[in-house]
């Protein structure tokens, strides 16, 4: 299987390289793998995720996602790469003035799909995350767990190559957390999507085989 993500001597830092968060990290993640990244608070988990969706450029080494090196990528290519990613945030990052349905089809809207396709897909995705009755509601009318399901539906909208999730269940109760984990497991299993989840705690009930990386003292280590 080909590598979807490959980091080689990767160093991530804020400012002009003054505040190193990750140093000389080497790892590869293949297509269809489910990966957990854990580590203590402030260890650089979210920073790594930011780098993976191109928000933070590597200060040294290379970070290749979908065949494109994020250290040297141009803005246009980065935009294109992001259209193949599904990103889930702890704070959901939904557009509050848009309906649930419009939030879900954002990736399709960006890709230029017709309104009919968007509507059909919105119905399918909302049914998938069990929010069919919420299509015309606004995010702030939903509970945290429901908002995160909208976030997952949005991430799945365009069958992404990779899903990046930053503490997706960090603000949720156990029931909502389990629903989210189920949805991500399904995406990985049924769509062969690579899923990379940053979390402080790996769920106890998890049926898929997964890889586990831990970030500690600026290094990224695989736990066997």
């Amino acid at each position: 299987m080909s590598n979807v993500i490959h980091a080689s001597h990767l160093t991530l830092a804020y400012g002009k390289g003054e505040k190193e968060v990750i140093k000389d990290a080497n790892f590869s993640i293949k297509k269809g793998e489910f990966v957990f990244i854990t580590g203590p608070s402030g260890s650089g988990k979210s920073t790594l995720l930011k780098a993976l969706y191109g928000q933070l450029k590597p200060s040294e080494g290379s970070l290749v996602v979908g065949g494109l090196d994020l250290a040297t990528i141009r803005q246009g290519k980065l935009q294109e790469l992001r259209t193949h990613m599904g990103i889930i945030f702890q704070d959901y990052k939904l557009v509050n003035e848009w309906t649930v349905s419009k939030n879900v089809v954002l990736p399709l809207m960006i890709a230029g799909y017709s309104t009919e396709v968007q509507e059909t897909q919105a119905r399918r995705l909302l049914k998938h995350v069990k929010l069919s009755d919420y299509a015309d509601r606004y995010p702030l009318e939903l509970s945290g767990g429901e908002q995160q399901r909208v976030g997952v539906a949005r991430a799945l909208a365009k069958n992404p190559v990779v899903i990046l999730a930053d503490e997706p269940t960090g603000n949720l109760d156990d029931y909502s957390s389990n629903v989210i984990w189920d949805l991500m497991e399904n995406a990985c299993q049924q769509l062969d999507t690579t899923v990379l989840v940053v979390t402080h705690k790996i769920p106890t009930i998890f049926s898929l085989p997964y890889r586990h990386f831990i970030i500690e003292s600026k290094g990224v280590y695989e736990v066997h």
């Binding site: 930011k50 935009q79 790469l81 992001r82 990613m85 990052k93 939904l94 990736p107 960006i110 949005r154």
Partner: protein, 271 residues
């Protein structure tokens, strides 16, 4: 209500800037006409030993546009009343040549002095009278009015720009979240800023329309009935159709700069 308020908060300062631009255009046009009148009404007196052609004056200074020789016979008949013919001819022979010299522009008094100096370098020219005193006071008054209006326009523009910056902050607050989310999912800049552009373009259109309507009214209704001579004489200069283009282009430029500033300052994901 909120919708109207949001639009007005951008339309009003934009209108103030456009009013400033239109006032400037109108003032430039009317003062150009006035300046032309002052220039045409002004001439300096040049006294020469021998007759001089216009080209000779122009070779001495490029601002000289016309020269009119005063009739010596008329001067002699005035100064030599009651003298006999031979004395009269003697006076005529001894009398120098007088020229009214016109200029191509309305110059500062130092400009007049420079022309005087240039003319006096020619040994054939005996005297140059610029009538600098009265000219200078008209020029100073005219320059003062021009300067005051320009200062007012600049001040109005600065205040309006601050109001626009304030509105940009409101835009940023209202649109940042959506633009950032769209950016994360790979939306190009035009798509991210589409909504904001639409709002701003509508505001630019209405601002141009309102300012044009004000000046349209001033030109076609108010000026004609005002009874103010300067307004009635300069009615044509009050508004031109080409001004609509200038106003719309200016408002578009302001809108594009404002929107792009908001878009660029909203880049990156909010922590």
């Amino acid at each position: 209500m909120k919708f109207i308020k949001n639009h007005l908060m951008f339309i009003l300062p934009l209108m103030a800037i456009l009013l400033g631009i239109e006032f400037y255009l109108v003032f430039e046009r009317t003062t150009n006409t006035y300046e032309k009148g002052l220039t045409e009404g002004y001439s300096m007196l040049v006294v020469t030993k021998d007759p001089v052609e216009l080209s000779t004056f122009q070779a001495l200074n490029k601002h000289i546009s016309s020269s009119e020789k005063l009739k010596r016979d008329a001067i002699v008949s005035e100064v030599a009343k009651g003298v006999n013919k031979s004395t009269r001819e003697a006076i005529l022979t001894a009398l120098p040549y007088f020229y009214n010299v016109g200029l191509d522009a309305y110059l500062h008094s130092s400009g007049l002095e420079k022309i005087k100096e240039d003319l006096e370098t020619d040994p054939n020219i005996k005297k140059v009278e610029t009538f600098g005193g009265s000219y200078d006071s008209s020029y100073k008054l005219f320059s003062f009015i021009k300067f005051t209006l320009k200062i007012f326009i600049v001040f109005m523009t600065i205040v309006s720009l601050f109001l626009i910056i304030k509105q940009m902050e409101i835009w940023k607050y209202a649109h940042k979240e959506r633009m950032q989310v769209m950016e994360i999912f790979g939306a190009p800049m035009m798509l991210r800023s589409g909504v904001l552009f639409k709002v701003a373009l509508i505001d630019a259109f209405f601002s141009t329309l309102l300012v044009s309507a004000i000046f349209f009214y001033l030109k076609f209704y108010w000026a004609g009935q005002s009874g103010i001579n300067i307004m009635m004489e300069n009615q044509e200069a009050l508004f031109k159709m080409s001004d609509i283009g200038i106003l719309f282009a200016s408002s578009l430029l302001i809108v594009i700069i404002a929107v792009y500033s908001v878009v660029f300052s909203s880049k990156g994901v909010q922590e």
